[in-house]
Symmetry: C2
Subunit: 473 residues, 2 copies
Amino acid sequence: MRVSIAALILVACLSVLISPAVKAQSLAEQYREPADRIIQAGMSNDGAYLKLQELCDGIGHRISGSDELDRAVRWAADAMRRDGHENVRLEPVMVPKWVRGAESCEMLEPRRQPLAMLGLGHSVGTPPLGITAEVVVVRDEDELDALGTAARGKIVLFNNVMPPYTSERGTGYGQAVRFRGRGAQLAAAKGAVACLIRSVTAHSLRSPHTGMMRYDDAPVRIPAAAISVEDAEMIARLQARGIPVKLTLKMEAQNHGEVQSANVIGELRGAIHPEEIIVIGGHIDSWDVGQGAHDDGAGCIMAMEALTLLRKLNLQPRRTIRVVLWTAEEVGLHGAKRYAAEHADELDRHVAAIEADIGCFSPIGYGVDCQDAKRLSVAAKQMEEILNLSRTLAPLRVTPGQSAPDVSPLKKPGIIVMGHDTDPARYFDYHHTHADTIDKIDPRDLQVNVAVMAATAFVIADMPQRLGAVDNR
Amino acid sequence: MRVSIAALILVACLSVLISPAVKAQSLAEQYREPADRIIQAGMSNDGAYLKLQELCDGIGHRISGSDELDRAVRWAADAMRRDGHENVRLEPVMVPKWVRGAESCEMLEPRRQPLAMLGLGHSVGTPPLGITAEVVVVRDEDELDALGTAARGKIVLFNNVMPPYTSERGTGYGQAVRFRGRGAQLAAAKGAVACLIRSVTAHSLRSPHTGMMRYDDAPVRIPAAAISVEDAEMIARLQARGIPVKLTLKMEAQNHGEVQSANVIGELRGAIHPEEIIVIGGHIDSWDVGQGAHDDGAGCIMAMEALTLLRKLNLQPRRTIRVVLWTAEEVGLHGAKRYAAEHADELDRHVAAIEADIGCFSPIGYGVDCQDAKRLSVAAKQMEEILNLSRTLAPLRVTPGQSAPDVSPLKKPGIIVMGHDTDPARYFDYHHTHADTIDKIDPRDLQVNVAVMAATAFVIADMPQRLGAVDNR
């Protein structure tokens, strides 16, 4: 008897799952009301902006290996405990410690002029008196190659222009940022003594943009720094007029090996399948300038406050929603990789992992990705249904094949990895600069992002079928 | 016989002048062709942008009293001589020398954080160890008054918000800038030990904006500096949350009395009435940051190149067009006042004086002013006719009652003073900052401004009636 009832339920469930039309209606029937309730509550909730002030104004920037990052990690755990979340804990991660120290770049010829600069993360420093050399400007690899031996003993400046953002994600940045990562290797291979890059941005008020560089197995490690777009263009104009430019670059930058940091975790335990996990999060570290507000304080706060919002509404989903604040993203995804390794034995019970790491402007949708193409296709369709549940969600779009940095180590066959995306048009104006401060975030944008993330995570965590499931589960 | 022909000509001229319709047609008939020719030639002329590079990249910023200003003055005279202008000369002007020196502002509590700052011009310095005090934030005079004695011994921060520009000239800036000028006096009167202002801008990438302050006859002179919008908002947020903020302000700023500078003058002499003068110009000094590109390198270059363009086209007007590059505008219109005094005996032969000092974006028109209301009304109508002469000029608008800083000492009954205006929407993003650099100027905008200024000045200098004349001349 018992068995036959179970079989009947199974058949009923299967019939619902097989027909997309019926399934869509069912999702709408089930979740329109809670989605509306979450979004309405989210839009009148001021907790997120206060948390963001505590993080940004109270602690400030928090680079990997710094005391500020330690404080931010402890603050986040305390805040999640205060909000009553379950299983709040720190998971240790070894992270690199790179310290900028004092640094400067001065044009000596044709006239003395300090340049606006920021050394690149991981770069070695210069000798104490700096490196003084003539500059040679190139736009890209081809122009560098065309120099032949002319870069020997020089400072190479990569003056590669990043086009402005309009609506598309990442492409302009992705193109131009390669010189930040590999410029020093390319320049050193041509005999250059230092590498400068034009800051990776389409909009500058003489604002240098830092970021990570790497040497890989380059035999010679030369210092690398970003200068402002304005200064890069000035040097390029002078070179175009045949006027030699000589600079002194001074950097105290040092790599100090690894120190301990932690991923911060807190949960809203699931009512029926607590062992199944939906991860939402951001990265708790930032660069050592500005306040790491858009990158990625806001992403962390969105996830923390989304959980708090659901808890306040007494909405306990079937599955567990886990906030993960990854550490040391900027310097190589250290927290994210460690999380994936540490949780290897429960990855098959990770349904989805969502990171917000493209700033806090108007929400525009979700990047959705999966190693398994069929699951990706199913998940993308389900996400479209979820985004049809409310008027606030309806304008959001699903972008298959995209996600976010810290969920990338979780891109395994069974897990749907996602990026919570906001309008990127101005993100790279502030990215990795002194100007990534909380005033650049409209409190209403933060509210709506929290609401959207909470509603989306709740439905994914509560809906009967597993996101992306191509079989019965 | 001779007399009666002259009388006939006079009657004919009067009849032309009396009827606006006939007059307009006459102006159009006479000047459509040369206006078109000037504008067409201007739009393919690259001389202005090269000159602007020589000034901005070659010399850089040039504050009153600096070696750079001396170099810029000599460079401008040389450039005008090279272009073949007549009566190129320097007219000495005594100007203030204020030297910024090293300066910094650091937040000590609730945490250590350097602030982005620029001392204000004319400010006294601090003691060598700086001034350390708690900050009190006010929005305006009323909030300062409401503090009673609570500002005593504190650093007062005026956090007055400048609204963004859309199309209207100057109002938002004019409102917010009063704290830059008078903030130190207001704060000192309440017993404050230093004055900070929120930078006067509607758009910031942690960009401090300097500018002139004044003590007038204040009994106590306290140091004054601008901090970035971001830092001002951070301090205001902390104060709103009840968190005390303590700062150390260090400034080596010193006033060094007066030194000699010069206005730079060059002419295209008139063919028929060389004694009658149309002045066009900008100010050759700048603040001691950035390159003084929009403010006001471009204004100087527009005037220099407009003259060169007319000379290249062999267009010699009836009256003389005189380029005047005023010195020491930023620190109190010293060059402009000296020019008016030096040329007192020929001011009645000054027909019009036009300055471009609102940046180099798309031209939007001319402010037109005169002490004599009737002349102003006539001149404004004539300017509208002139702007109807060509398709390029037609979108430009005349704004009666407005002009520009350096022509203001020339606002006498007979002289029409004018401002050559360009779209101000982004001007105050760069104004008085490290970011006022030549890359912010589109070479095509510079071309069209040169062309517009040349065409306008030519018609004013050549048209039979004197601009604004309410009688026969």
